[in-house]
């Protein structure tokens, strides 16, 4: 694995590609050019094999049995939690709650913290570029309880407009926002926003779904109270996500789902809750998935997250210059054009060709991009489009993949131009 990083810190993508079995699959007889990692990344053999190996040698339910197998399963499940905690700079493994995905992580906060702390008229501040996962849970509270939602606007370049930040935060109980837009790529000033929110007396939730997979993350530096992210976007399996939260919030929040595991004692008329983080993990958790996520974290650590970010940034810059260089005014890129200010997703419009049609034509060349509203309909309306085409990158993508995308766009032009 050490061989996958070259001496200058750049990733040896040709070697990395060999770690991902799916990249050998042919699509319509063509090499697979997977440019949809922001939706879900592919998995290296190490992750896939670790889950198979776990099922073949170790599986038993966790935190229950008093026998060797169950103890080893528990040890590996908790070891995965510790790996994730170290990966994001958490003070302790107990600050990491395993969830199904970011959506569940945010819903955990909106149900457990929100229902204990928000009443009619209380204010939650969001931004105009949130994923539905960070909109709908708060809209549900608005409809159920009459909380007030305020939105930080974005400008035409896809950056947050912070002129009215202090006034918008006045009296707010929570600021919940994305650290990296899944549509525009925009990186938001997390620390600045968190500090402003705290100064106003509000707590801070960060949707880090697109941030943790490609940025060295230190939750202490981010300054948030809650951070949600998910395994399947960072080389791990589906079905496992994480909520990191401060010990104070985890202790104070009531539980979310009720059931086994999350209790200390149950009587016919009452129950007491387990310690954190298990207080928030009702029922049998996704054990193999947690172990797979731990291995994904090992894989990313071996590459070095600074190298991962440098790779994403360089490839994003290459994509922006290649696409605009080849197609000029026929191609419009949404979001900041400076790769320094964005993550590895590039949403674009090409002529008047609908993203669905673009994606369909690109598929014939084995090029997979996302076409649609990216679960961000309010943002689509703000951009004045119904949908966008989006290419997104991971560690197994290289300039040849971007070139394949650029070449394939010419096919769409032939058909629809």
């Amino acid at each position: 694995m050490a061989l996958t990083v070259l001496e200058d810190g750049s990733l040896d993508v040709a070697r990395i590609k060999k770690d991902f079995p799916i990249l050998e699959v042919l699509v319509h007889g063509q090499r697979l050019v997977f440019l949809d990692s922001a939706a879900s990344s592919q998995k290296p053999s190490a992750v896939i094999d670790s889950m198979t190996e776990y099922y073949e040698t170790t599986h038993a339910n966790v935190h229950r049995g008093v026998y060797t197998l169950a103890e080893e399963a528990t040890r590996r499940y908790e070891e995965a939690r510790a790996k994730v905690a170290r990966f994001i700079g958490a003070g302790s493994a107990s600050e990491v709650v395993f969830t199904k995905n970011v959506t569940e992580a945010i819903n955990l906060v909106s149900y457990a913290w929100g229902r204990a702390n928000l009443a009619a008229g209380d204010v939650v501040v969001l931004t105009e570029m949130e994923h539905h996962a960070n909109l709908v849970p708060w809209l549900q509270l608005k409809m159920e309880r009459g909380i007030e939602l305020r939105y930080l606007p974005i400008d035409d370049a896809g950056e947050l407009v912070l002129d009215d930040l202090a006034r918008t935060l006045q009296g707010a109980k929570l600021l919940a926002f994305t650290a990296a837009s899944n549509v525009l790529g925009t990186l938001t000033p997390v620390r600045l926003l968190a500090d402003a929110a705290h100064a106003a007396g509000a707590l801070v939730l960060v949707d880090a779904a697109q941030y943790v997979p490609q940025m060295a993350t230190d939750v202490a530096q981010l300054g948030a109270d809650f951070v949600g992210f998910t395994g399947h976007k960072m080389l791990g399996p589906t079905g496992i996500g994480c909520l990191w939260a401060t010990p104070e919030q985890l202790e104070a929040m009531p539980p979310f789902l009720g059931g086994g595991e999350m209790i200390r004692d149950v009587r016919l008329d009452s129950f007491t809750t387990n310690d954190v983080p298990w207080k928030f993990e009702a029922g049998t958790p996704p054990i193999a998935e947690a172990i797979g996520l731990g291995v994904a974290v090992d894989y990313l650590n071996a590459l070095g997250m600074d190298n991962v970010r440098a790779h994403e940034k360089a490839l994003t810059a290459y994509a922006i210059s290649t696409l605009t260089g080849r197609y000029g005014d026929d191609l419009v890129i949404h979001g900041p054009l400076d790769a320094e200010r964005r993550g590895g997703v590039v949403s674009f419009a090409y002529k008047d060709i609908h993203p669905h049609d673009l994606s369909q034509v690109l598929d014939q060349r084995g090029v997979c991009i996302r076409a649609g509203h990216h679960c961000a309909k309010p943002l689509m309306r703000r951009l004045g489009v119904g949908a966008t085409a989006r290419a997104s990158f991971s560690i197994y993508n290289d300039e040849a993949d971007v070139d394949a995308l650029a070449d394939a766009l010419a096919d769409a032009d032939k058909l629809f131009g």
Binding site: H28, H354, P355, H356, D357, Q360, V361, Q364, A371, G372, H373, K377, M380, G386, A387, D411, K414, L415, F416
Partner: protein, 165 residues
């Protein structure tokens, strides 16, 4: 484009580039229905005017399509508008059934509308240009694109029938 000829037939591309009956009707009196494809964000708005003909039979006197979407959803809406305009309500329903049957998504209606013989009647309907959309069936994700305007039309017809019942 190898493999895509079945999907992007020339007549489909023609309706996409030059959509028929595009626009709005004043509502009311026109009936208006909106349809969304939650997968891709396509939105369609259908306006229909109904009027009794000289024999007193209600017909779809005018139909307009607004909204935005991909070539399949837009061309399907355009062709639909041509096939439906001037029809009586039962004729329009039969055309819808025939089209959805072609798209293999004709589901048994639970509200009693699926009486025996309905399918036979649907098959007898001449779909004409609309048959060009049959190739969409090979691309399952796109079937919802093709049926979006038709499902929206059903909503509009339901409104007409509720109002005129």
């Amino acid at each position: 484009m190898n493999g895509l000829e079945d999907l992007y037939r020339e007549i489909i591309l023609d309706h996409y580039r030059n959509p028929r009956n595009r626009g709005e009707l004043e509502s009311p009196p026109a009936y208006r229905a909106e349809g969304f494809n939650p997968l891709c964000g396509d939105e369609i708005v259908i306006y229909i005017d109904v009027a009794a003909d000289d024999r007193g039979v209600l017909r779809i006197a005018d139909l307009r399509v607004n909204g935005q979407g991909c070539s399949i959803s837009q061309s399907s809406a355009s062709m639909m508008s041509g096939a439906i305009k001037g029809r009586t309500l039962p004729e329009a329903r039969a055309t819808i059934r025939a089209f959805k049957s072609m798209m293999s998504v004709h589901e048994a209606r639970l509200d009693g509308d699926g009486e025996p013989g309905a399918d036979a009647e649907a098959v007898a309907v001449k779909l004409g240009d609309l048959e060009a959309l049959q190739g969409v069936v090979k691309f399952p994700v796109r079937i919802k694109c093709a049926t979006l305007s038709w499902n929206t039309l059903i909503q509009a017809l339901d409104e007409v029938e509720t109002a005129t019942a």
